[in-house]
């Protein structure tokens, strides 16, 4: 069959708009639609992948040839990330199937699909204004999902997120405008060819606006104040959506711009320094959190700092390490959020101290949480070990020894606060009286799939490395992006 990258945007959007209508007739069908959509899109993503290796797929929308019309650029990098978010999205849907039992169900699934469509759009599009539109689709859906539980804190977290998010999109729009004023085009590949003639001062100003705009969504310090609140007040699977999908999309955008438009040395130094600061501060804040989901949120910020460090080093090996870390973070942090969701549900409190002894009462969920915790700290034989190792070796080759020391110290802090939770789960006396409610099968299957992937990659890292190498080349190779993006 003839698939096209347009499906990743069009199908979830269409499904999202149909869901409220179908919801009037049957709630059960509404629950099944996102699963079917995501399964279909995962299939499309996997079957398109071999084609992208030969030549990036460039889709022209509405017959306007680049640089005039909107193009979709679907290279190995986009293919890798889109496949990742579709599969993570499917797992999160599987988990939500029994976890989200509150009304309005159809709104939850509608917003969930909108986030997926927006994130896929950011990764695929080759047009900066189009990217702004997708960024807004993703963020507006994310604001609403944060407030989904209709409680006091949810509204507050969502309002905070909305304020910061609007700032980010304003900065991004001003950057788009300055680029258009300076180069007269909106196509990324075309801008890249004309960026040489732009004087340095506006260029640096535009770069700062871009970094602020996407730094907010990719949780760069000091723009990440929204993250802990939004992660902890949204329903637990949505924590996985933020960490595994939304943040990845804007990190992709940031990296694409850094490598294609602003490829001068100081950009990467800036990203490196911001990554280090983000990581250190986030890990120290995570240490003193009392609530488990806030702790996971800070840990997620710290991991993104690590990704930024690896991107900032800027060599081929370090970009591969960063993409590996992005993938690992997407699966491991999603597993942690999914497991934490049921731990919170069973203990009836968001506090870490309420988790005492749950390992005896709820062995399966606790096991998955412990596995995720060990994997994210970077212990062998789990997936997290390899990406951390690659980041360390590539940073060492780049000659940033202070950075390595800081990464290792943060790793120790991370181990301390994760193992604190795990030890509470297993080595404390059981205080909960709740032994009736069980984790439903769909939740266990969802977490099980992620856990199997984590262990499998831990033993056979080359399974994923062979997909990462072409993706990293796609990101670094500016010349081929311009060549294919302009259809030459």
């Amino acid at each position: 069959m003839n698939f096209s990258p347009v499906h990743f945007i069009a199908v979830p959007l269409l499904a999202a708009f149909l869901i409220p209508i179908i919801g009037r007739f049957s709630k059960e069908v509404v629950k099944l639609i996102p699963g079917a959509v995501l399964l279909y899109l995962s299939y499309v993503a996997i079957s398109l992948y071999p084609h992208t290796l030969q030549k990036p797929i460039v889709e022209i929308i509405a017959g306007f040839k680049p640089p005039f019309g909107i193009t979709l650029y679907y290279g190995p990098l986009a293919a890798f990330l889109v496949t990742m978010i579709m599969i993570v999205g499917f797992v999160i849907w599987l988990y939500s199937y029994k976890f989200i039992i509150r009304e309005p169900l159809e709104k939850y699934y509608m917003l969930f699909l909108l986030v997926i469509a927006g994130a896929a759009g950011i990764m695929i599009t080759g047009d900066i204004f189009n990217m702004f539109v997708f960024l807004e689709i993703t963020s507006i859906a994310a604001y609403s999902l944060t407030a989904f539980l209709r409680d006091k804190d949810g509204a507050e977290a969502a309002f905070k997120y909305l304020l910061i998010g609007s700032f980010s999109s304003t900065f991004y729009l001003i950057a788009v405008m300055l680029i258009y004023a300076n180069t007269g085009t909106l196509n990324i590949a075309d801008i890249a060819t004309k960026m040489q003639s732009v004087p340095n001062q506006p260029k640096i100003f535009i770069m700062i606006l871009f970094m602020v705009g996407f730094g907010i969504e990719s949780e760069l310090f000091p723009l990440n104040g929204w993250a802990p609140d939004a992660y902890s007040q949204a329903p637990s699977p949505i924590g996985g959506v933020f960490g595994g999908i939304v943040v990845k999309a804007s990190t992709y955008a940031m990296m694409r711009f850094a490598f294609v438009l602003f490829d001068f040395r100081s950009t990467f130094e800036f990203i490196l320094v911001m990554g280090v600061i983000t990581m250190v501060i986030a890990e120290m804040s995570a240490m003193r959190q009392q609530q488990i989901k806030r702790m996971l949120a800070f840990s997620s910020i710290g991991q993104m700092g690590l990704v930024m460090i690896a991107f900032g080093v800027g060599t081929d090996a370090s970009v591969q390490a960063a993409l590996f870390q992005i993938f690992n973070h997407a699966i491991i942090k999603t597993l942690l959020f999914l497991a934490a969701g049921y731990l919170v549900f069973h203990s009836g409190s968001k506090k870490i101290s309420a988790l005492d002894g749950l390992g005896h009462n709820k062995p399966i969920t606790s096991f998955f949480f412990a596995l995720g915790a060990l994997a994210i700290i970077g212990l062998p034989p789990f997936a997290g070990f390899w990406s951390k190792l690659y980041i360390l070796t590539s940073t060492a080759k780049g000659g940033f020894l202070t950075v390595i020391v800081l990464i290792l110290i943060s790793g120790i802090i991370e181990a301390v606060y994760y193992l604190r939770v795990v030890s509470r789960l297993y080595f404390k006396k059981d205080v909960s009286k709740d032994s009736v409610r069980r984790t439903p099968l769909s939740g266990i299957v969802a977490m099980g799939v992620l856990a199997i992937v984590i262990i499998l990659i831990g033993f056979y890292p080359h399974l994923i490395l062979e997909y990462i190498q072409p993706a990293a080349h796609d990101l670094i190779d500016k010349a081929s992006y311009i060549k294919f993006g302009l259809l030459n």
């Binding site: 204004f129 702004f132 539109v133 609403s144 509204a155 507050e156 909305l162 304003t170 729009l173 405008m177």
Partner: protein
């Protein structure tokens, strides 16, 4: 030039409102002022004095007498998005008022770092 200055002034006024006002409705108003400022800035990039619509309607009309249509198309999209964001923001304000019975942002701060 005067268009740019006005637009930037509007953006700054909006940001001032977002950063200093205590009433959350005023903050939302600030957000939409920033939006208008950005839209105005976008429009003024494509503007030419005494320019006309980019349609070859009159004999002898050359492209250098036409305004750039792309910023206008972008602004149409940006206005719609701004409307959506404002609507979400106001619905959250209603929710916040229901829970807290106040619009003062200093009194709504249970969540902290």
């Amino acid at each position: 030039m005067v268009y740019y200055i006005t637009a930037i002034l509007l953006i700054l006024i909006g940001m001032y409102a977002i950063l200093t006002k205590k009433n959350i409705i005023k903050i939302v108003i600030g957000l939409s002022i920033v939006d208008s400022g950005v839209n105005l800035l976008l429009i003024s990039i494509g503007y030419i004095k005494n320019g006309t619509a980019p349609i070859f309607s009159v004999e002898g009309l050359t492209p250098d007498k036409m305004v750039d249509p792309i910023p206008q198309a972008l602004v149409l999209t940006a206005i719609v998005i701004g409307l959506g964001v404002t609507a979400v923001a106001l619905s959250l304000v209603i929710r916040l008022y229901d829970h807290h019975k106040t619009l003062n942002i200093n009194k709504i701060r249970k969540l902290k770092w």
